[in-house]
């Protein structure tokens, strides 16, 4: 790094810090607070215990000269009243030679997550997906329109087919599927300078609850509202049902972090009670303010550098010339 970078950091520290600690107008603070609905989840112990599945994936890769070794796995963790915790999933390890491996692997992991979701759809009462529904939808739709996804092609995966699988799954069981993002830069609800999550985290006094849900088609972000409209349209075309996406920010426990919730909803559905239902269902399973099944799925799915090195050791390519060898 250039030494000048540090000089710049010092001279600009005030202005950059000012951007981080944004000073908000009183009206805006009042607006944020008015959108926050305090709610503490409660699960009636006399109700039937639900079977909850969380799906997450992880990948890592090591670039050699002219090719890359990757390891990808998808994990679905089932929390069941009778069996307790059950971990399943599948893994893919291969070498590939393509230009944008990060993007390709991200696409592959999204397809594998959807395949897992389809597999467990009839077995679970609630399926928690890590990430954003609209982001997955957009990614797959773009992939189905583009050419040159070598990795997917080499696996014989058609993104259009996976997209259809996703839409069918959502159409058949819209109330089962919940997407939860750990982080988001989306500005759908407030439309301020930074992502909504920043403001809800700072100006809601640590109260557990959720932001007033909105339909994503009404997003303040034009691109997002367009994508949501496209989603609605595509679902209607493929499955013949009217499903849109609702978004809300939730805090499961006092003073814990805020997460973004995306739910497929049917017309006329009470979104408020749907969000409350999700919070209630997860209230028993929240650890440090985050749903435990997702935490566990993330923990298991993660492929670390040590793991990829171990795999390359097993394959006997640990000492193959690697991409950044001259450095």
């Amino acid at each position: 790094m250039l030494t000048q970078a540090l000089d710049i950091a010092m001279t600009m520290s005030k202005s950059i810090k000012g951007k981080v600690d944004e000073i908000l107008a009183m009206d805006n603070i009042a607006k944020i607070k008015s959108l926050w609905i305090p709610y503490k989840g409660f699960r009636n112990p006399y109700l039937k215990k639900l079977s909850i599945v969380a799906i997450d994936s992880g990948f890592n890769y090591k670039e050699y000269r002219g090719y890359a070794l990757y390891a990808l796995n998808v994990v679905y963790v089932t929390i069941d009243n009778i069996k307790g915790e059950e971990i399943n999933g599948f893994a893919d390890i291969d070498v590939v030679s393509c230009s944008n491996i990060e993007n390709e692997l991200s696409l592959l992991s999204a397809t594998m997550e959807i395949e897992s979701m389809v597999k467990v759809l009839s077995l679970a009462d609630t399926i928690l997906m890590d990430g954003s529904l609209i982001a997955v939808f957009s990614k797959l739709r773009r992939a189905s329109l583009e050419d040159g996804h070598d990795l997917l092609e080499s696996k014989g995966i058609e993104s259009s087919h996976i997209l259809k699988e996703l839409i069918y799954a959502i159409s058949i069981h819209p109330r089962k599927i919940v997407f939860i993002s750990k982080n988001s830069n989306a500005k759908d609800v407030l439309g301020f300078v930074k992502g909504d999550i920043y403001y809800f985290e700072r100006y809601t006094d640590g109260l557990p609850g959720y932001s007033k849900p909105i339909q994503l088609t009404c997003s303040k972000h034009l691109g997002m509202s367009t994508a949501a409209k496209v989603f609605r349209h595509v679902v209607k075309n493929i499955a013949g049902v009217d499903i849109s996406i609702a978004v809300s920010y939730v805090r499961f426990e006092p003073f814990s972090r805020i997460y973004r919730l995306e739910l497929p909803i049917e017309p006329g559905e009470d979104i408020d009670s749907r969000v409350k239902y999700v919070i209630d269902v997860l209230s028993d399973l929240t650890i440090s303010g985050y749903p435990y099944p997702l935490m566990r799925a993330d923990q298991i799915a993660r492929v670390g550098l040590e793991d990829i090195n171990r795999i390359s050791g097993i394959l006997g390519i640990s000492y193959d010339p690697y991409a950044r060898e001259p450095l």
Partner: protein, 493 residues
């Protein structure tokens, strides 16, 4: 957990229960293990690699969970994990470090450190009983049972008593942890073998001990003043080392003294020396007047030489319980001196004179007699015994509840150790610093021991051993007093 049937070179069918696998980087003497079940500290394990058959011991044991981690700050989170999610019932991980004790071959109980560390992935089994018996219970002459393995109660632990005689022994522990029981056990076993042991019993704990078919000889702590040398008399009279003229007067009188009336003769002689030594002789006379009554409690002209009081093949108990520390110090040092001399004569005369056979000497409350801070008479004599005892067959057993008070020179020359529970960190560090056989990792295990559990180290055991020491039922005193029962009895009587 799988059980593997293995036939080794000795055609022993070993039923091996797999415990886990070696992982990570290992050393010839140490390795990490990942296990299927919780590991018990002190548990013995068995491995085979590169044709070495290796015995190892669990040094540290760790149980953890990837989910119930220490960064959770809300107990309700843990409650949810354990009760609602029921995670707690399912997954823990077990790992630890093992200390490699050595590899063995043939039918010998000796262990040799393998030059090669175990490769990762080596299967680790629970040590089979046949192997443990071979290592810890050798069926050889000179090995006596002191207890059982702490983690394998059906395996006897035998120690080589010959090594105690030749390399000495330190028994170190907090009070009430079983030191005197171990002394009583060794005494009993030595006497059963026909050996001789002398115990300096500062608290009168052993005088009531009456093991079946074993002679116990309780000796009055008296010495014949006529057998005392100048140094001993000067010490008893508190004459400093630099008081040369006083010592000269005393020496001349001791040389000319007759066979009886020690104090009268000594005083008479000193009076006659006043002309020559002036005030120095007067000072010695004054000292005798001051200490005469006090010294009469331990000095008796009618007493034989202490070496003649020792009964061979018996437990000889020198009861020091009525004496002050200084008096006891004089007695112990005199006994040590005379015993060493008598034993030397015994060796040189091929047993026709002196003490003809090897013997063990036990010094209880050794931190008082062999103190790190004070110059005592016993310290000098004990030093001679630890240096020369090996050649003449006198083994010293040093017993202390305050190891940091022991003289480091003597402590470092004890080739064998029995360390029971020690909690005080200063004591632990002192032992680790000055005792050769003990290592830091073993020191860390000391607070975890219970009453009667000991780590045995040194040449008297084949490998470091954590043992449950046998209880000597014949030793009835020395335990904690039940004060409430006494009070209760006196209240209603």
């Amino acid at each position: 957990m799988a059980a593997v049937q293995r036939e080794n070179t000795e055609t022993l069918n070993l039923q091996l229960d797999i415990v886990g696998y070696i992982v990570g980087e290992s050393k010839p003497y140490k390795a990490d293990i990942v296990a299927f079940r919780p590991l018990a500290v002190g548990e013995y394990l068995y491995m085979e690699y590169y044709n070495y058959r290796v015995l190892a011991m669990v040094n540290t044991s760790i149980t953890g969970s990837p989910v119930i981690t220490n960064n959770l700050i809300d107990p309700r989170d843990v409650e949810r994990l354990v009760k609602t999610i029921r995670y707690g019932e399912k997954i823990y991980y077990y790992k630890g470090t093992v200390k490699i004790l050595g590899s063995f071959n043939g039918s010998s109980s000796k262990l040799y450190m393998p030059p090669i560390p175990p490769p990762p992935g080596t299967e680790v089994y629970k040590a089979p009983k046949t192997i443990l018996s071979r290592i810890f219970s050798p069926d050889e002459k000179g090995f006596i049972r002191v207890g059982t393995l702490l983690r394998e109660m059906d395996i006897e632990v035998k120690i080589n008593i010959n090594k105690v005689v030749s390399r000495h022994l330190g028994i170190l522990a907090m009070t009430g942890m079983g030191k005197s029981n171990l002394v009583a056990l060794i005494a009993k076993k030595v006497a059963e073998l026909g050996g001789t042991i002398v115990i300096f019993d500062y608290h009168g704990e052993y005088t009531s001990m009456k093991p079946l078919n074993i002679i116990t000889n309780v000796v009055k702590p008296k010495i014949n003043p006529l057998n005392l040398d100048l140094e001993e008399v000067a010490r008893l009279l508190n004459i400093p080392r630099n008081a040369t003229r006083q010592r000269m007067a005393l020496r001349e009188c001791l040389e000319s003294i007759g066979e009886s009336n020690f104090f009268i003769m000594l005083k008479k002689c000193l009076q006659s020396k006043i002309a020559k030594y002036d005030i120095s002789a007067q000072k010695v006379l004054d000292a005798i007047s001051v200490y005469e009554n006090f010294l009469k409690r331990i000095l008796d002209e009618g007493i034989e030489d202490v070496a003649n009081n020792i009964i061979l093949g018996a437990i000889n108990i020198v009861d020091l319980s009525d004496l002050h520390l200084n008096q006891a110090d004089a007695i112990v040092s005199h006994w040590l001196n005379r015993t060493l001399e008598a034993r030397k004569i015994g060796v040189w005369s091929n047993g026709s004179q002196g003490i003809p056979s090897p013997l063990l000497i036990v010094i209880e409350e050794a931190h008082a007699f062999i103190s790190a801070d004070n110059e005592t008479a016993t310290k000098r004599c004990a030093g001679s015994i630890v240096r020369e005892g090996r050649k003449f067959g006198i083994g010293l057993i040093v017993v202390s509840q305050r190891p940091r008070g022991l003289d480091p020179t003597i402590l470092s020359q004890l080739g064998n150790l029995a360390v029971l529970r020690i909690v005080h960190p200063e004591d632990q560090q002192y032992v680790a610093r000055h005792c050769e056989p003990i290592t830091q990792d073993l020191v860390e295990e000391l607070p975890g021991l219970n009453i009667g559990e000991a780590i045995l180290l040194g040449e008297w055991v084949t490998v470091p051993t954590i043992a449950k020491i046998d209880l000597v039922k014949e030793k009835i005193s020395g335990g904690d007093i039940d004060a409430v029962t006494y009070w209760d009895r006196s209240l209603f009587s």
